[in-house]
């Protein structure tokens, strides 16, 4: 039938145009990076089984982690507030309470032994740059360093909540939230922004935030962007592969590799979906209803047309 032939021609040219300007053009503009499944294959495998009790002594001991990091879960609150911390380190060192639940174990071990390598920021902290990474490598406490590191990781895992007890917001705050704000979730680099009754209290808070961000900017080179709409501007695949290895997509970026486990990354993404695209489920359910209605509508209009046109042909 002639009308179907015409329709086929229209659809053909529409689809060719669509394919050229969307999938094809975008494949030419953006390199596609495949996920490695958060396996961190470049890092040395964990060969030793750690002992959490011995790990505790190392983490808490002289020259251990709590010199800089707080561990609220083990009763070690932060010695200084975020702004003061950022003045010393450039960025607020993370609380380690749930580090064992969010980060990959292999990554944690590599990080303790050689932070700049694990974080993939060696290009920023070259000897010529004269800059030192704020986290110092662990040189061992006298025994087998690999065993000691495995013990420390085992300790961090033992105090962390089970992965299913960590909320998306907690995962985001620990892994990303000290550098990135998420305005639409009311999140700033120094914590959730409270509701202020007095303008003055708000200004004090904002001044602290400005001070923190000035230190952060000095450390990172520029202020890391607000991530509220990143799920829409970058998309889930890009964000996931970017979190896994920022250097793959943005070579030379100051952003360190975060080192989250696959599960941790999913939580972070879940948080970003809630921030930038919270109505996606409603969109699907309303969509299905509208489609069902439209099918009925099309059927009714077809029957109406047939009834009228039987007198015309």
């Amino acid at each position: 039938m002639k009308e179907f032939k015409i329709l086929a021609v229209v659809i053909f040219f529409t689809l060719v145009t669509y394919w050229l300007v969307e999938p094809f053009a975008h494949s030419q503009m953006h390199a596609h990076v495949e996920s490695e499944g958060f396996s961190y294959d470049d890092l040395p495998p964990l060969e030793k089984t750690g002992d959490a009790t011995r790990g505790q002594d190392l983490v808490m001991g002289a020259g251990g982690c709590i010199g800089c990091h707080s561990i609220e879960a083990a009763g070690f609150p932060a010695a200084m507030d975020a702004v003061t911390n950022s003045a010393s380190y450039g960025v607020n060192p993370p609380d380690l309470s749930n580090a064992g639940g969010i980060y990959d174990a292999k990554f944690l071990a590599a990080l303790i032994k050689n932070p700049t390598q694990a974080l993939m920021v060696e290009h920023k902290f070259t000897p010529e740059s004269g800059k030192m990474h704020p986290m110092i490598a662990f040189y061992g406490a006298g025994g087998d360093i690999d065993q000691e590191v495995a013990d420390m990781v085992a300790y961090l895992q033992s105090i962390a909540p089970k992965p299913d007890q960590i909320t998306p917001a907690q995962a985001f705050e620990t892994a990303c939230g000290r550098c990135h704000s998420v305005k639409y979730e009311n999140w700033t680099q120094i914590g959730e922004k409270p509701v202020f009754k007095k303008k003055r209290d708000e200004l004090v808070f904002l001044t602290q935030l400005e001070d923190y961000n000035a230190n952060l900017m000095g450390y990172m080179g520029k202020l890391p962007p607000d991530l509220s709409m990143y799920i829409r501007s970058r998309g889930e695949h890009y964000l996931s592969t970017f979190i896994e290895n920022p250097q793959n997509l943005l070579h030379g970026t100051a952003m360190p590799r975060v080192g989250v486990s696959k599960d941790g990354a999913e939580k972070v993404l879940e948080y970003l979906v809630e921030a930038g695209d919270p109505k996606h489920a409603e969109r699907d359910s309303v969509g299905v209803k509208v489609m069902i209605f439209l099918l009925v509508f099309a059927a009714a209009s077809y029957l109406w047309k047939k009834e009228i046109w039987k007198d015309l042909h």
Binding site: V290, F293, V296, F297, A300, S301, L303, W304, E307, I308
Partner: protein, 165 residues
Amino acid sequence: MGKVFGAVAGVGAVGALYAMKKSWDPLPSVKAAGFTTVDLSAAEPNKLMVEKWRGKPIFILKKTPEMVAKQSAEQTARDIVVNGENFLICIGLCTHLGCIPAYREAKQDFKCACHGGEFDSSGIDTLAPPPSPMVIPPFNVKGNTVVLGEEGETYRQMKDAGVLA
């Protein structure tokens, strides 16, 4: 068949109208901001405190023991007792045309500048044109504070007793 088609199209129009109606609703942020917590510990006797709740002024007046002593039962029924102190808490709008009356500490009453209406220290109209007492908003007493917008136990009792406005 034309009628059937028209009916189906009508269903679609109603669906669209439903979405349109929902889009006119107050936003969640507006609704969430509809609750205001007021700390009453700073209130001074016979000094009017004005708070803002849902865009309207809220009068809070802590009464002195003398004021309470000479009150009528009708007046006392409108008092809200927090930590043993009697308070007037009402929406500070004249029930005539919605101006904000001023509190006169010496006379211990309210005078509306717009049309001369007067209210006593319990917010009861004493001089026309206002036809009724000033309205007591939904409240919930929590220790030394009241949350405006929440209907607490005392509020429901007052509502049942018919003394809110």
